[in-house]
């Protein structure tokens, strides 16, 4: 080894070190703003909301007191909160199976043949794009007891209509219907992404194996592969359903008589109408617990199995 080689090796090491250092500096500059904002607007508020739920803070108050789990105790003893939780679970329990089942049906039927495929896909997806709050106002008129399209149509075929938004026995299910209408197309395109990712070879192999009929092909090829995708869509759909708020806030304000009160509406009215921030934070924590449990289930369990997007 000559002196020249040694010197150039040392130079390379020095250059490497300098490059590493420059790269680290550049990386810091590149991730700095995003990281700072994540801390201030996401992680910070997350910690804040957990701490706030242990206090009696009211917006605008000069001082706050640590009250331990008192907010949670009050919450679970409160009729309104229990009703809200019950309604939310009912909503999720109705909307998820229906919108997943109908979304799957629509995806399979639409993909089964090329005829009018694009046309159907567009129409079924349209409600996903339409501003929900504007459509809520439209739904209110569609459901109008006297002049609404639904009751007029029901009367035309000899059935009696309902007061869909003011009857406390049915109002929650009316919102479930709007929820299914709105989310079906979204689940449909998730399934379509799943369907098109099933390799064509498998269908051909199934055909060779005698699964020539559409029905057989469905059960031997599509279904086993679609199983994990279905689970994925169920979880996504549940997370979205827990967030039901817009239509209820503008149309019924949780009424009549709390019959359509849901978690986010309770959080909104406690936190932003009565400004009981501490209590509203506790309600938020319950909402977060459900959504986070679903999201973690998806991340740790499903994302490893489903090769998606």
């Amino acid at each position: 080894m000559t002196v020249g080689n040694l010197a150039s090796a040392a130079d390379t090491v020095e250059a490497d070190r300098q490059r590493d250092w420059r790269e680290a500096l550049a990386a810091m500059a590149l991730v700095g703003p995003a990281t700072a904002l994540i801390v201030v607007f996401l992680i910070g508020p997350l910690v804040c909301i957990a701490l706030l739920s242990l206090t009696d803070y009211q917006l605008g108050a000069k001082a706050l007191r640590f009250v331990g789990l008192a907010n949670y105790a009050e919450m679970f003893g409160d009729r309104v909160f229990r009703r809200s939780l019950e309604n939310t679970l009912t909503y999720v329990g109705v909307v998820v199976p229906l919108s997943v089942f109908l979304g799957l049906g629509a995806a399979l039927l639409i993909e089964a043949s090329a005829s009018l495929r694009g046309f159907y896909r567009t129409i079924f997806f349209l409600p996903v794009m339409a501003t929900l709050i504007a459509m809520a106002v439209v739904w209110e008129f569609v459901l109008h007891p006297q002049f609404g399209m639904l009751n007029l149509a029901l009367n035309a075929i000899g059935m009696t209509g309902q007061d869909w938004l003011h009857d406390r026995k049915i109002v929650l299910f009316t919102f479930c219907g709007i929820g299914v209408w709105q989310s079906l197309g979204f689940n449909m395109v998730l399934f379509m992404a799943g369907l098109t990712s099933i390799p064509r070879d498998l269908y051909e192999a199934a055909e060779v194996d005698g699964a020539g009929q559409a029905w057989n092909r469905f059960w031997t090829v599509t279904w086993p592969l679609l199983g994990p995708v279905t689970l994925f869509v169920v979880v996504i759909s549940a997370i979205r359903s827990f967030q039901v708020f817009d239509a209820i806030q503008v149309l019924t304000k949780g009424g009549p008589n709390r019959a359509s009160e849901v978690l986010l509406y309770t959080m909104y009215s406690e936190g932003f109408e009565y400004f009981r921030s501490g209590y509203a934070a506790a309600v938020t924590m319950v909402f977060l617990a459900f959504v986070l449990a679903l999201a973690l289930f998806k991340t740790w369990f499903l994302d490893r199995r489903v090769h998606y997007g």
């Binding site: 680290a24 993909e111 567009t122 998730l190 599509t222 936190g271 938020t284 977060l288 999201a295 991340t299």
Partner: protein
């Protein structure tokens, strides 16, 4: 799926899907025809499609004059474009560093991004509201934009895409003397245009349609984005004046629906990716 379905199956398929499509379209149809009708036909309690007497001009004129409809649309355009521009500015450099550079703390930052994706935007609302209240920014455009400048979903999406860009391209750019910032904006972003467009669609759709956050932080008409505007319209001006109200709904959903009809594949792709976010 392949194979030749029987004519019988074809018929069942079309009948079922047409029935489904009719249900999906019904509210849109009812909204549109009502926006063309005069009040006495709306309250005639008859199931008719086309108006006997056209009242479209009056209804739409009222939707534009009774409430500041153009202002709502303008607010929506200002807020959604400001949010997306800032999101790109913040998320793209971070995504590049996470995808292509090796540095201490990368794992931790990526973990925070993944955690952020799992948190629905309603959760930090109370602390963010208190924060904005303390700095006296409630009821401003800033209140509508600031909390969304950081898009962890955007970082995640762009990182996934950047990972597929070959390292050689970046090495070559460095040898040409480009700085890391220049590489981000002049090499990576053009290469990742499809991902940027998907990110844009996701962001604009989410924020054009968002009602929850504007409801909390805005209480003046001059600053209301379209969803809040339509709620004001329904609550105050036109509770029972359905013609103009439906015209207002048509106007507010039109921009996104028309954009969707013009570029369906891109929209569906962009929206499907939100499946990741849930």
């Amino acid at each position: 799926m392949i194979g030749r379905p029987s004519p019988w199956f074809d018929l069942v398929r079309h009948v079922t899907l047409l029935a489904g499509a009719a249900v999906m379209l019904a509210p849109f149809v009812w909204m549109t025809v009502t926006s063309f009708k005069p009040p006495h036909e709306i309250f005639a309690a008859e199931l008719t499609l086309l108006p006997r007497q056209w009242h479209a001009y009056e209804n739409y004129r009222e939707a534009f004059t009774k409430v500041p409809m153009l202002r709502y649309l303008l607010n929506g355009a200002i807020v959604t474009s400001a949010i997306f521009a800032l999101q790109v500015l913040v998320a793209v450099p971070c995504a590049y560093a996470l995808a292509k550079l090796d540095f201490r703390g990368r794992g931790l930052i990526f973990a925070m991004v993944l955690l952020g994706i799992l948190i629905p935007s309603h959760v930090p609302a109370i602390p963010l509201y208190i924060m904005l209240w303390q700095v006296k920014l409630l009821n401003t455009y800033a209140a509508l934009v600031i909390p969304f400048v950081i898009s962890v979903f955007g970082i995640f999406l762009m990182r996934q895409f950047f990972k597929t860009v070959p390292d050689e391209l970046i090495q070559a750019a460095r040898l040409d003397g480009l700085s890391e910032f220049a590489i981000v904006w002049r090499i990576m972003v053009p290469a990742a245009m499809p991902a940027v467009i998907s990110f844009g669609i996701f962001s604009v759709v989410a924020h054009w349609n968002d009602y929850f956050w504007p409801l909390l932080v805005i209480n003046s008409r001059e600053l209301a984005p379209p969803p809040l505007g339509v709620a004001y319209f329904r609550n105050e001006e036109a509770g029972h004046d359905y013609g103009p109200l439906m015209a207002g709904a048509v106007i507010i959903i039109a921009p996104l629906v028309l954009a969707f009809l013009a570029a369906q594949r891109r929209f569906i792709e962009g929206m499907t990716m939100t499946g990741l976010k849930g």
